[in-house]
Symmetry: C2
Subunit: 164 residues, 2 copies
C-alpha cells in the first residue's frame, strides 16, 4: 500500500470513527430527550442531529459525488440557529435521514479511487486548485470529521433521561 | 508537490487551525473565568486547558520526537477527572505551559520530513506496524486534531464574563 492509499484509509477511518461515535451517542437519547439543550440556552440535540445530517447531505455536492436529498432542511438546520418555532421533521424521520445519508456516503466513498480523493472539491475553481492543490476532497473530509467531533463533544455533555 | 507532501501539509493545516481556534477561545477567558464549568457539573475550563496542554506535552513521546516537560500534570489533567481538590498550577502558569508546548510542537513538526510522518508512532511495535502501516504519526496527529475539536466545542458553550 503506497502513501496515498494509506492516507485515504486513515482519513476514512477517522471519519468512520467520529460518525459511529456520534450515531451511538445520539441513539442513547429518546425522542423526548432530543428536545434537551446541550447547555442552558444552547442548541438542542435535535438541532445538532439535523445539523450534522444536513451538512453531510450537502457534503456530496461539495465533493461533487452526488446530490442533496433534502435541501429544504438547510433553512432549519444550517442557515439558521436553533429555533423552537422552526419547522423540523419528527425525530423518527430525522433518524431515518441520518442513517440513509451516512449509508449513502459510505457507499459513495467506497466507490472513489485514491486518485479521486486528491482531486479538487466542487467549492473551488480549477485555477485556485492549481495554486493550492491541498484543497482537495481529502481535506474536505478531514475538515468535516473535525466538525463532527466538535459537536459530539457538546452532545456528550447531556445525560440521557433514564425512564423508570 | 506529491500526494504524500500534500497530505502532510493538509494534516498540519488542520492541526494548526484547531490549535489556533482553541488558543483564541481560551484567551477570551479571564483567570477567574477558568473556574467556570462548560456545563453544569462538567469539566471546568481550567481542566480542559490543562488537559489539552498535558496531552500535547505527551504527544512528543507518542510520536517519538521529544520528552514530556511536565509529567506531574498527568495526574490532575489526564489520569483523573476534574476535581476541585486537585493541585493545579495557576492559570498564568498554565498559559505559559500551553504556549511553550504548542510552540515547541510547531518547531518539532517543521523539522520532520514527509517520510518521517509515515513512520510508526512509539505506542506500537514494529510487528504491529508491519501489519497495519496506517498507524503512523500522521494518523496520531489527525486523531489528536479531532480531540482538540471535541473539547473546543465544549469550551465554546461558555461565554466569557464581561467585566464592566
Amino acid at each position: 500500500m503506497d502513501h496515498s492509499e494509506l492516507m485515504v484509509k486513515i482519513a476514512l477511518a477517522g471519519w468512520n470513527t467520529q460518525i459511529s461515535r456520534a450515531a451511538q451517542t445520539f441513539d442513547t437519547f429518546s425522542d423526548a430527550d432530543f428536545q434537551q439543550q446541550v447547555s442552558r440556552g444552547k442548541n438542542r440535540i435535535i438541532y445538532l442531529y439535523g445539523h450534522l445530517a444536513s451538512y453531510h447531505d450537502a457534503l456530496k455536492e461539495t465533493l461533487g459525488i452526488g446530490k442533496r436529498h433534502r435541501p429544504e432542511l438547510h433553512a432549519p438546520f444550517l442557515q439558521n440557529p436553533d429555533d423552537l418555532q422552526a419547522v423540523m421533521p419528527s425525530v423518527a424521520e430525522l433518524r431515518e435521514f441520518w442513517n440513509s445519508i451516512h449509508l449513502e456516503l459510505e457507499q459513495l466513498f467506497a466507490s472513489l479511487s485514491t486518485e479521486d480523493w486528491f482531486k479538487r472539491h466542487n467549492a473551488m475553481s480549477d485555477v485556485d486548485f492549481e495554486k493550492d492543490p491541498s484543497r482537495n476532497r481529502l481535506s474536505v473530509l478531514l475538515n468535516r470529521t473535525n466538525h463532527v467531533a466538535y459537536h459530539l463533544g457538546q452532545v456528550k455533555l447531556v445525560k440521557p433521561e433514564v425512564l423508570s
